[in-house]
Amino acid sequence: MVYIKSLEYDLPELRIKTDDAINYLTKDVEYPKEKIIESFEKEQRIENIAVYRDNQEFVDSLMKVSERIIKSSGIDPMKVRYIAYGNPILTYINNTSLIHYIQSNLGLTNSRILPLMHPCAAFLSAIELGEKMLSSDDEEYILYVSGCIWKDFDERFIGFSIRGEGTGAALISNTDGIFKIIGTNVCNFENSPVDIYGNEKNGVSSARFGLISRGAQFIKESFEKFGVSAESINRIIQPNPGYAVFHDLYSYYAGIAPDKFFYNNVADGGHICDVDIIRNMKDYMNNNISVGDRIMLYTPDVETSFDINYYSCLAEKC
């Protein structure tokens, strides 16, 4: 049995309005930017994007959440067995590995570094691995850290969403926490956009088209695997690519009431990989959530260079 013991996240103060971002992205192309802006503002309801002023601010933010989560939890740092992360930039920004720095700076002397090849799903992946890898006898933890910062605006724009920036951390425990993990589920889409030589195979658009309907099917499969229904859980906590993605599309294809998803953070910040999940989960706890209430965490892991992986996790409030 594993638990989520604590969650922390941090977003930069600076915001760029969505229409300014789109205007900048489309400044050199003949493109119906008004339609794109309208789509983002009316359908996806993304109002602004969170942006770090520079790498220094990002690094400070990551250090802040990592330090805060270890110190506020009161755990013995020597009990951290793994430091897991999903975004490769955490090991080379400023030509240094922030993960190794966290390891030494926070006294996590007994930890092993665990890179997970899932920029958007590494948190859920770490949860599942925690069930398998943490001791069944001794107190142990996984410190999960996440952070997103993008080189330029072209990296941010992913068609139907815009990536924002932020950091997050979570402590996965084998003894106690705020949520206990009831079950986990994973599958891949088997529809990679490119072949191993980098040639277009199924095409990015074709892969993306099926992404949502397959993801909705995966959510239904997860309900079945966990022995629950949409009605029996309080909320599905998903990432923040946009409002319409889940309210209109996922809800339709999965046959779930749209209000089962969590939209509080859609407008502010943009899509921040799996920092979204940490942020949404932490903020959802500000609702009147009672012991025994159940939530399902869900995320697809999507990059143009690889097959889509879906992750889900059923968690119960302790």
Binding site: S39, G242, A244
Partner: protein, 89 residues
């Protein structure tokens, strides 16, 4: 439903989703229907609701579908097949 009714319903849904009244049966899926992936999914959901059968999202990417008319014909075939399957049951 008559074939022309189905065609008209589908084209109407596409026009609503594109906010483009100039869309016709001969319009090119790639070049004239200005929808991104999310837009197409919303459009397909709208089409599903008017024709009453599910439509696989990747349908619009089939190589044999170049025009709106091609899409309508594929959906019509699916409708006919769904009707045959219902009769068999």
């Amino acid at each position: 439903m008559e074939k022309s009714d189905i065609f008209n319903k589908i084209i109407k849904v596409i026009r609503i989703n594109t906010a483009d009244e100039s869309i016709t049966a001969s319009s090119s899926i790639q070049n004239d229907v200005g929808l991104d992936s999310i837009g197409w999914l919303r459009c397909l959901i709208g089409i599903e609701r008017v024709v009453g059968i599910p439509i696989a999202p990747h349908t619009v990417f089939r190589k044999d579908i170049e025009s709106v008319e091609d899409l309508c014909n594929v959906i019509l075939d699916s409708l006919s097949k769904a009707g045959e399957d219902a009769n068999v049951q």
